[in-house]
């Protein structure tokens, strides 16, 4: 098999890790946000501690923990891929939750009050008034995280996932060094596509100021 093809196969794994993590981490992040903003203090502190632990330790360590910790409790992790996804989803959900919280807290209280005096329910105020403004405000920060996620998928190799860097380093080990550099091109191409999509989204949201 030629090196380009083998790198492409590896990058397919990166893309899959990226897509699944993004799709699952956004809703999980929202749930964590609700927890960290809860009025019920114990829940709030549990969630805040959780976010602190996830953001305060290396993702690489979390990958090892996801793979090996279940074994300590008598249920060895059967799939390395599952372990990688669990670590990535939880890690990114924690970061997303802080972005969501910042976005929600940045909406002026007057927006809630205006909705309330117009007879909207709390749910309507959130979905019809606040949510869209939050999305507009957090898009740049989310874009940053999403770009970082593309590259962080390469960390999955530390628990033995054959993603693109693992494929490339196999060539390097046999004395062919160029695929290692070539792997960077896949990342550049993918992040270029994502950057274009994100800046399109930002432009679309810029139809109003504020």
């Amino acid at each position: 098999m030629n090196a380009w093809q083998s790198l492409l196969n590896g990058f397919g794994v990166n893309c899959m890790l990226f897509a699944v993590t993004l799709v699952l981490a956004v809703p999980l992040g929202l749930i964590i946000t609700l927890g960290t903003m809860a009025k019920f203090k114990p829940l709030k502190w549990v969630m805040k501690t959780f976010v602190w632990i996830i953001r305060g330790t290396p993702l690489m360590l979390q990958l090892f923990v996801a793979l090996y910790a279940p074994g300590l409790f008598g249920h060895p992790m059967s799939s390395r891929m599952t372990a990688a996804l669990i670590a990535l989803v939880i890690n990114y959900a924690a970061y997303f939750s802080e972005i969501f919280r910042g976005g929600i807290e940045s909406i002026p209280v007057g927006q809630y009050e205006a909705g309330q005096v117009l007879g909207l329910t709390k749910v309507q105020v959130f979905f019809k008034i606040v949510l869209f403004q939050v999305i507009k405000r957090i898009t740049p920060a989310m874009g940053n995280e999403i770009i970082t996620l593309v590259k962080d998928t390469a960390l999955a190799r530390v628990i033995g996932i054959t993603e693109i860097l693992m494929s490339a380093s196999r060539f390097a080990a046999s004395g062919v060094i160029w695929p290692l550099f070539a792997s960077g091109l896949y990342f550049l191409a993918f992040t270029a596509l994502l950057s274009a999509l994100l800046s399109y989204a930002e432009k679309r949201l810029n139809y109003y100021q504020g």
């Binding site: 002026p108 009050e113 205006a114 309330q116 117009l118 007879g119 329910t121 008034i129």
Partner: protein, 261 residues
Amino acid sequence: MSILDVKNMHKSFGNTEVLNGVGFSMEQGEVISILGSSGSGKTTLLRCINFLERADEGQIYVEGNLVFDAAETKNRSAAQIRKAQLNFGMVFQQFNLFPQYSVLENITLAPKLLAKERGDFKSNKKEIFSEIEKNALELIDRVGLAEKVNNYPCELSGGQQQRVSIARALALNPKILLFDEPTSALDPELTGEILKVIRALADQNMTMIIVTHEIGFAKNVSDRIIFMDRGVVAEEGSPEDVIDHPKNERTKEFLSLVDRK
């Protein structure tokens, strides 16, 4: 029968007593301006009437019906509070328009959501929505913004934004319209257009409570002036009595410090 009765309102924030037993009543079509220095409790009174704050003591009656009683041990449901809230329209100092919606959408949003609760909504959706839009366009015309129907709030001046927010409040046909310092966030040359709109509403017999610093306007538009000081009504009466011949020492002091034109 009075359209609004506010009785013995008390409200504290922490150890600061902001309202210390305020009460008044008003008739259908009456315009009351509330004056007073900063911290006298005017805005808090308005926010308590409108359920944005919960008073610690006191009762509110609308057309003789009790809509709020601080002494009730059982909290009223969110739905009951919403229903009571809809007796009032509110115009904020900072406008609080929804930035992502056009002028028209700002005005139709709440009426359209409320229409969903109507029994005949499913069968008459089209007619109901077009009726709401027609009504909104009339209101926009009334506040002189017919050409801005599809503009976004960020494209409007402060005065225009405030006129939209008045139209938005009117779209729900409130019994009483509340204004919280409607011109305080505006440049002086823009306050005139808001005052003109309020004047026109007064002429159409709208019942209004206006918290304001515009003494001259208050005198011109109001049937009655309430002067608040340290959380109580210090003086009330006709504009001529309160503004031109104040009896209370605090009213005299306040009026001597502000521009009366």
